[in-house]
Symmetry: C2
């Protein structure tokens, strides 16, 4: 990515990524090692960057949003660890290195995921304790955590995961396909943006525009991912490609073909940009990002 703001936010997250994890005893060091193994595997940090950017955009101090940005990476990473398990997607490679269960075994991988998910809420709640004398900011934090819990939960990411599993090997309707994509991926992206907006003190209009933006790039992002699974290079993606077809996953390219999927990405990208255009230069980060995400398949 050439977006300098993106790099600045990403570096901020990377520097603090382990900082908000609870201190663990040496007797549970394996747990900690397996958690940071997956956290340190790299990645785009899209969700946490969006959270910081939304906070900054709405007038907040992005540094004070770091516990929430890191927490959303803990949640995203836990979801990948569990998703890769043998009984789920059974993947051996993620971000160019062996998946968590390949390194640490299944039991530890399950607990590492559970640990990351719980640590996310522990970190956010610990941060709230610092705002007992600053009630307005305390309330913003409560709102942010609620957004994240919803986006990660049974009406968001986990709903998408179960629908994804159930749709394997089946003829899948457009309705189910959209349901999977909106929940599996877009829900947590949207939660990140909405949480950042709350932390930054967004008004109703800003929150609605950012929401519209996030829903569109979230959906575009998943379709891009599906397209790259068909035509991307394994060494660039750090994971095995062609897996969706082998597992007969419900994806846009499988249902609509590559051409129509690319058109859909373009349409969603335009919708996202349109939501932020009223803010002109102030929204430059968001406009650039939407284009960059779409350009991955050009």
């Amino acid at each position: 990515m050439q977006n300098n703001e993106y790099l600045r936010f990403k570096e901020l997250v990377e520097e603090h990524l382990l900082y908000f994890l609870p201190e663990v005893d040496h007797k549970s060091i394996t747990l900690y090692e397996s958690m940071i193994y997956s956290l340190n595997a790299g990645g785009k940090m899209l969700r946490s960057v969006l959270l910081l950017a939304a906070c900054d955009f709405c007038g907040g101090d992005e540094k004070l949003a770091l516990p929430y940005a890191c927490a959303i990476e803990y949640i995203h990473t836990y979801s990948l660890i569990h998703d890769d398990l043998p009984s789920m997607d059974n993947d051996d490679l993620r971000r160019g290195i062996p998946t968590n269960h390949k390194m640490f075994g299944e039991a530890t991988a399950i607990l590492a995921g559970d640990g990351l998910l719980t640590s996310a809420f522990e970190a956010m709640n610990k941060d709230m304790l610092l705002y007992f004398d600053n009630v307005e900011n305390l309330k913003r934090r409560v709102r942010a955590v609620y957004e994240i819990s919803k986006g990660a939960g049974c009406r968001g990411m986990i709903a998408g995961q179960i629908a994804d599993i159930e749709a394997e090997n089946k003829q899948c309707t457009k309705e189910i396909l959209d349901y999977i994509h909106i929940n599996k991926t877009a829900a947590l992206i949207k939660a990140a943006v909405r949480a950042g907006a709350h932390l930054g003190g967004a008004d109703k209009k800003m929150l609605a525009d950012l929401d519209e933006y996030a829903e569109n790039i979230g959906l575009a992002f998943q379709i891009v991912d599906d397209i790259l699974d068909v035509k991307g290079k394994e060494e660039e993606l750090g994971k095995k490609t062609g897996q969706d077809q082998i597992k007969r996953k419900a994806t846009y390219p499988c249902r609509y073909g590559l051409m129509e999927s690319k058109e859909k990405v373009q349409e969603l990208t335009e919708n996202a940009k349109k939501a932020m255009e009223p803010y002109y230069d102030n929204a430059e980060f968001f406009i650039l990002l939407a284009d960059e995400l779409a350009s991955r398949i050009r």
Copy 2:
């Protein structure tokens, strides 16, 4: 249990147990079904009852603590579902019925656990939103959620789980054995009591006494469980007995024998009661409960 207060609190939890789960879409109905399958399987509701009792004891309205009491049952239930998985304890039976993965398959069981854990935090955070005009009660809630996240997390229950797995088939020191018991079981029991105390508005002295009580009955409870695994009846316990010895788990009876383990339970029970004796009749519930838990092995 003959403790009428216990029954009253337990009924209150049972009546509201599903109430705080997020509404799910019919497309993710399997997820919901698997979650409530395990939630409805019965159980003692020890953690949630303790939370309500601690809140009531400290002068709070236990009905307003219900989202937190139910959330702690979601967390306890998720931990059982994941603990029973083939790669973990590989149990087929729990509370007299097939374990979650036996009914719904491994992938769904993992997601049901993830869903329950996330729903716990979603439910508690949603409740916090109701207290924006009542800052003192909002702060109590933030403290309560922080206690629960710590007790369930990498310095609590999950630390105990990983140590438990690592100790299998090994000669285990007294230090490790205590570490497992304190974290695997006592940590969440303590978190329940502390959370309830915060919700009820406990002062420092009350919080410290309840903490001392909870740590002692939490540890006693796990040793009782281990003893029942050796000498209990399967039909009464609803799960296979003798499993600890087969899996060469680190338990009190294995390390110290039955006699010494029973003495330890008695000692811990006396310590717990001593912590609450200064409160005389007001603490009757807690005194009775400590004796009842210990009486299971008489």
